[in-house]
Each structure stands twice: as C-alpha cells, then as structure tokens.
C-alpha cells in the first residue's frame, strides 16, 4: 500500500515508527546480524504499549516490515492470547499488512516465549520479545562488568552456576531462557522460551532477531548458525519430555500446556502451539479428548476430563 495514504488514515507513519527511528533500529539490526549473539545497544523509543510487553519486538518488527509481509504474532505459542491479539492489531492498523495465524503463511513471526513447532523456512524472520537480554544479569547485575565478561568471552560464571545446579540437584535446574552459545563465541539468552525450543534455534533456516525495548538491546542469530545450549560432557543438554500426547490432536514430542479441568486434579495436556494443533486436527488427527470440545474451548459446563 502507499505509505502516504497510510499516514493519512492513521495519523502515523507506516508501521508507526518515524523513518529516523527505523534507520537507527535498522543499523542496529545489521550490526547484530554481523556479530551473532552480541547485544547491540539501541536508542529504544517509548512505544504506545508498556515496556515489558513486547516493545523491543514491536520496534524490530516495525523496522523490518514491508507492505508485502504477512505477520503472525504469538504469545505462549498461541495467536489468540490477549497481548498477541493487541500487537497484531497494532500492525494491522498502522502498517495495513496482512496478518495470519498460520505459521507457514507468515513472513514475519513475532513471538513471546515460544518458537513454532513447524520448522521455519529461509523466507521467514522470527522476532523474539526479550525481557532481560543479558544472560549474565542474574549472576552479575552490573552492565559495566557483564560487558567486560562478554568482551573477554569469560563465561566462567555461567558454567559455575550451571555446575552448582548439578552439584545440588543432580541436574541443571534451568528450564526456560536457557543460555546458548552462538557461532562459538557469544553466550546469549534465547528469551524466556522453554529449553524445549533451544534445538530449533540451531542451524535454523530462518533469520532470528531479538528485541529488548526496556533494556535497549537488539541481537540476532543469522540463518544457518550454530546455536549450542550450554552443558557439560557428563551432563549433556536435554529438553523437556511429556508422558502424554496432545489430548486434542494426538501429537507427540511437542511442547504441551497443562490445562486444569476441575478442582479435583483433573488435567489435560494440549499443544502449546495452537496453529500447529489446529492444522493437525484439520488434517483429521484426533487425540484422547478430541471427540468432545474441551471445556476451555467453549462456554458450556466443564467436561469431566481424564486425569493424566
């Protein structure tokens, strides 16, 4: 669409941000791509949504999106969580772009806390919303110190922390935002995705961009880049496993949400990636409870679920 026409209808520039801001963010993105895993400082703007609610991801998406892009926004794997709806609406309104819930149709996927189950393609860019970009932050709160540690590639603190977990619990006790090493150099936070999603980042055909608005950092993993979850030879990295398949589509080996059905311990496990689950059901796959619509999908009284 014509950018001038868009500006007239919304009162804002195409994709909300002014061109000066977009240039500043674009410069940061190019540096981030050239230095995989390194957090590039950028002059994050106040956005019309609160810090901590995806302002970094929104700024990155606004800087890269064009009129021909198709945008998908997910939060917790789902297209219909409130904040995902709100961000999708924001871009539909300010950029007039097509939006979708289908992973395979999207050219840009903005996400909070998940990577879709379907393998991303070289035609796609995934934009992560990041709350705390610094992997060393909870070990060393000072930016001046962590910057030095990255400069020296001194990640001893992180290894000590993970090893203390092993000494205490017998295994590493980090389940999400699990640190990774990118292209053999920088240690990076993948954002609070479950560690289940970490292997998807490794050698992904898609470009992965990370925006932290409040902390004013942008970083990137180029396509086909080695992403290694930190571990030890005697304690190799392992992802979460689930004992049951998805109660709706019957799929195994994906990340599941636990849905509480009643106050008597009734639970069901369903795909966290709602588009993936819907697509499978459309193809005719059925899970244990898919004969009936589960309670949380409709307003009728709760269906007695089988405890799992």
């Amino acid at each position: 669409m014509n950018a001038a026409a868009n500006a007239q209808s919304t009162g804002y520039n195409f994709a909300y941000l002014d061109e000066q801001t977009k240039r500043m963010i674009r410069r940061a993105i190019l540096k981030a791509i050239a230095i995989p895993g390194y957090q590039v400082p950028f002059a994050s703007r106040e956005m019309p949504m609160p810090y901590g609610w995806g302002t970094g991801g929104v700024q990155v998406t606004a800087a890269i999106i064009g009129p021909d892009d198709v945008l998908k926004v997910i939060d917790q794997g789902s297209d219909d969580t409130t904040n995902a709806v709100s961000i999708r609406k924001f871009f539909a309104k300010t950029a007039g772009v097509e939006t979708t819930t289908e992973t395979k149709r999207a050219t840009i996927i903005q996400t909070r806390h998940r990577i879709p189950e379907r393998e991303l393609t070289a035609k796609q860019t995934i934009v992560f919303q990041v709350p705390i970009p610094e992997p060393l932050r909870f070990l060393e709160p000072r930016e001046t110190e962590t910057r030095k540690l990255h400069a020296l590639a001194d990640y001893g603190l992180m290894h000590v922390k993970l090893y203390e977990d092993i000494a205490r619990h017998g295994h590493i006790a980090t389940t999400y935002d699990y640190p990774v090493e990118v292209a053999g150099r920088y240690v990076m936070n993948p954002s609070p995705t479950p560690k289940f999603d970490n292997p998807k980042m490794d050698m992904s055909p898609a470009l992965q961009l990370f925006g932290a608005g409040r902390e004013k950092r942008i970083y990137a993993v180029p396509p086909f880049t080695k992403v290694r979850s930190l571990d030890f030879e005697d304690h190799p990295f392992k992802v979460q496993t689930f004992d049951t398949p998805c109660a709706l589509c019957g799929v195994e080996n994906v990340y599941l949400d636990e849905v509480v059905l009643d106050d008597r311990g009734g639970r069901m496990f369903v795909c966290s990636d709602s588009d993936f689950c819907e697509e499978r059901r459309a193809e005719g796959h059925r899970g244990e409870l898919s004969g009936e619509e589960p309670a949380f999908l409709k307003t009728a009284p709760a269906v007695e679920g089988e405890a799992t």
Binding site: A4, K31, I33, L152, V221
Partner: protein, 204 residues
C-alpha cells in the same frame, strides 16, 4: 523548507516513496548480510550524480542520517555534487578519516584503504565499526570466492569484479579479530551482496 526548495533545482531527487523504498533496500541489505553469498535485487529507485552509483546512493539514503558519520573514497569526495547530494538527502556528517566513519562509500575498490584503516569497533563495543558499501562491476563474474560461516548452510560462493589481490588476505585478518571487524556490502547494477565479518573467504 524554503532553503530546500531552492536547492532541489540543482540536486538530483531521492526516493519517490522514501518509506517504502527504504524498507525494500534495507530488506535487501539485511538478506545480503544474513545470508552471505546470496545476491539479491536492489531496485535503487533514484538517480544519483556521477560517480556515485544509484545503488550506493540508495543504501546511503536508507541507512545514513545526521546521527551517523560517512567517509567517501577520494573519487566520491572529489565531487562537490556527490557531497551536496548526500548531505542534502541524509544530513549525514562526512568525515575525513576512515577510522571515524560508521559507513564508507567506495567506488574505486582497488584504491580503497586497507580494512585496518577503518573503525574496527572495540572488544566491548564491536558494533562501533565501519560498514563499507562498495560499488563493483559485477556480482557474478570475476574472482570466484568460496564462503563459509554463519548464514551459510554448508558452503556458498560469490564472484566479484573487480577484486583487489590483497583483499582476501585482509578479510582473513578481519575474520581473525572477531568480534571486532569490518562488514562489507557490495552493490552492482540493481543487485546487492555482502561479506559480514563472520564470513571466512577463500579464493576458489
């Protein structure tokens, strides 16, 4: 705006739709840098004063503004028209030393200063380095280069003409000082490719 209207009569025009053109050009540069060896379309969409090429001008207008610094190679710097064009359309600060530049525009690749003369960034801020944007004759003929590194599934290649004989060795030295280093973007008629600092380059 009265000053600018007076100047437009002598300064060539920029993008017809700056918002859409800048997004398309940025997207091309982003693809080039994130997938080294990939040659993508860069529809400049403007007319630049010689010896500045339309593609160099397009990248400059897309990325540079008054918050950035720009170094011009001697052939470009010698043209008052080129300097006036870039200053008018971007407000960029033109610097005399390659070391002070966030971006460098190069039309004479053979005469370009050594990569080490440009800003390398620091260990703590490796992003504070120069991105060189160089115009070349061709992105599919000339010196054949084998590429490996982030952004490349297994191996990729790129052919560039011209290719100064010393540049392969300089790129190896550039790669060796990672995360510091220079990123290079190459443009030819309607096309763009790039060699970020992460790419290891060998002459095949």
């Amino acid at each position: 705006m009265s000053a600018s209207t007076a100047q437009t009569s002598t300064i060539a025009t920029g993008f017809a739709d700056p918002v859409i053109a800048a997004q398309a050009n940025f997207h091309a540069a982003m693809t080039a840098l994130s997938r080294p060896g990939t040659v993508t379309t860069l529809s400049a969409g403007l007319i630049a004063p010689e010896p500045l090429t339309a593609e160099l001008a397009a990248v400059a207008l897309t990325l540079a503004d008054h918050e950035t610094t720009l170094w011009l190679d001697p052939a470009l710097a010698a043209s008052a028209e080129v300097v006036a064009y870039l200053r008018f359309h971007t407000g960029v600060r033109i610097v005399a030393k390659p070391r002070d530049a966030a971006f460098a525009l190069v039309v004479d690749l053979a005469g370009m200063p050594a990569l080490s003369a440009f800003a390398q960034g620091t260990d703590e801020y490796p992003d504070r380095s120069t991105t060189i944007i160089a115009a070349v004759q061709s992105l599919d003929a000339g010196r054949h280069l084998e590429l490996a590194g982030p952004g490349i599934a297994e191996r990729a290649s790129l052919s560039l003409d011209p290719w100064p004989s010393n540049l392969t060795a300089e790129l190896a030295a550039n790669r060796a000082q990672f995360p510091r280093g220079i990123d290079l973007v190459f443009v030819s008629a309607g096309r763009v490719a790039a060699l970020p600092r992460t790419t290891s380059v060998s002459e095949g």
